[in-house]
Amino acid sequence: MDTNYNFGFLDERTKKMIRRAILKAVAIPGYQVPFGAREMPFAYGWGTGGVQVTASIIGRHDVLKVIDQGADDTTNAVNIRRFFARTTGVATTEKTAAASIIQTRHRIPEAALTEAQTLVYQVPMPEPLFRLEPRRAETITMHALAEYGLMNVKLYEDIAQLGAISKTYDYPVLVNERYLTSPSPIPKFDNPKMHMNPALQLFGAGREKRIYAIPPYTAVRSLDFEDHPFEVQRWKHACALCGADDSFLDEMIVDDAGSRLFVCSDSDFCSERREAGYVGTQQAVHMPDVIAPTPTPTPTAAKGMA
């Protein structure tokens, strides 16, 4: 642990201020609480909000897990985990079940969470109405008066123009049947996990300086129409490594012929399954219709070539 910094990098008064904001957020599920975001040692867009939330709640006996798009080993996750190790000396882990605080960018772990756990989301844009109504004064009024017709208009328009609701990530939800909330850019696949989750879910947006929360066991409903109900993504294939057919899969293109390897996005979930003995096909999937075949060169064209 680097003793040049205060525990968790932020000073105690700042942590108190953020905890007060968190308390208010928990008291009003889904409501965006403004807070005095501090300058962090990395740029906006890299998780400053989530880090400030984690820094304010982390204690000596916590165990921290950090994931980015489900993986513990990407640059972002590694750096944040190292940041906390350095400024708190707190134990870190890659195992979801062993963590008391999980900070995440853009995914919810596949493993079910418990009442003893807190999930901290990194949020780029906390305002779900931002693209439809850019005026902040207007969106504040809309949230205050629960005037969310505009979001339904957007969903209607998607269906009218595209045949289906087009949002596949950052899919808008209604928290506690009151506040329209952005779940952060998690895939809509993860939305159902937010509903009645035993864990405390905290959301931090550093650049926009907002904190919001979903307390344990809170109703979270993804917006939809009665005759166009909310649906999660499904794959035709299972994870090539562990064989899971119910997790969110990353799709990796592995050669020029368009072969794809489908692998669990949640790296800990996949490795737990493999340790338990599950095995996948270990094979990339060849998808011939996806990419056009390479045209064979005509004899005349080839003649001029050296």
């Binding site: 005037e147 208009v153 009218a160 939809d224 129409f225 009665e226 005759d227």
Partner: protein
């Protein structure tokens, strides 16, 4: 045109700072409006008629007087606090949330320029459906069929339902605006120069449509216009405004055929007839 009083205005007025002096944009306006009555507010530029319309629709705050409306389901329906002796509610006592809700349900407001009254970045169908969605309608198919039926009613081609309003002509945009306002069956519609700027033949069609709808739906309306022919065609009653004051009011054909006030006589005699 029987029924209880719908809108009651007493001494309404609005001030503005002009330079370093306070000027009354309109003052001392009083009238009662009943269900199914159409009132035209007529005057030239600067008469205060548009300001009056915005005062009535609670888009501006009153500086003098009061506006009472028969708000359905408002607390005090039994004559308790909030309701006047006539049973109407003082709009100044309503919360912003309630006023906004009223504007979206029991009232309509047709803007002079359709662009100000429509969402230009979503389709015609979405525009018509918005009020219903704001009230909790969540069945896409029903929203769509309701939108289609309203488009027929205002004589819009139903195959334009998914087109953006920008691709509609001016007359079509106005009709879309009307449909968007009427889906919630408002009892009172405010119209600000609904036909100004449109081609003459388009105006005629639009006025016909408004006449039809007012009759069919028993709408009460306050229509601001500088065109006396529009007033004669649509309105049962007229208010003539000059320099912020009402100089004459009464039955439309009486005011137009037997004007008493000098200004009304001037207006009526100035109208060109082809």
């Amino acid at each position: 045109m029987t029924g209880d009083l719908l809108l009651s205005v007493r001494g309404a007025g609005k001030q503005f700072m002009q330079g370093n002096r306070l000027r009354w944009a309109c003052r001392d306006v009083s009238f009662d409006l009943y269900p199914g009555e159409v009132l035209a507010v007529v005057g030239e530029s600067g008469s205060g008629k548009s300001t009056l319309l915005r005062l009535l629709a609670a888009r501006l705050g009153l500086d003098a007087g009061s506006v009472h409306y028969d708000v359905r389901g408002e607390a005090g329906a039994d004559g308790g606090p909030g309701r006047s002796a006539a049973g109407l509610v003082d709009l100044a006592q309503l919360s912003e949330a309630r006023l906004r809700w009223l504007s979206r349900t029991d009232w309509g407001f047709v803007e002079q320029h359709a662009r100000d009254g429509l969402r230009m970045n979503v389709s015609g169908g979405a525009n018509i459906g918005e009020r219903m969605m704001a009230l909790g309608a969540r069945h896409y198919g029903k929203l769509r069929s309701e939108a289609l039926s309203w488009m027929e009613r205002v004589e819009l081609e139903t195959d334009r339902i998914d087109d953006l309003p920008g691709s509609y002509s001016g007359g079509m945009q106005q009709r879309l605006q009307i449909a968007r306002n009427l889906v919630t069956h408002p009892r009172l519609v405010f119209m600000d120069e609904p036909t100004t700027g449109l081609d003459v033949s388009v105006q005629a069609r639009l006025l016909d449509l408004v006449r039809e709808l007012v009759n069919q739906l028993q709408l009460a309306a306050v229509i601001v216009t500088h065109d006396l022919a529009v007033a004669r065609l649509l309105a049962h009653r007229m208010l003539v405004m000059k320099d912020g004051c009402v100089v004459e009011q009464g039955l439309t054909d009486r005011v137009l055929d037997d004007p008493q006030h000098p200004y009304t006589q001037l207006l009526v005699s100035s109208v060109l007839t082809p």
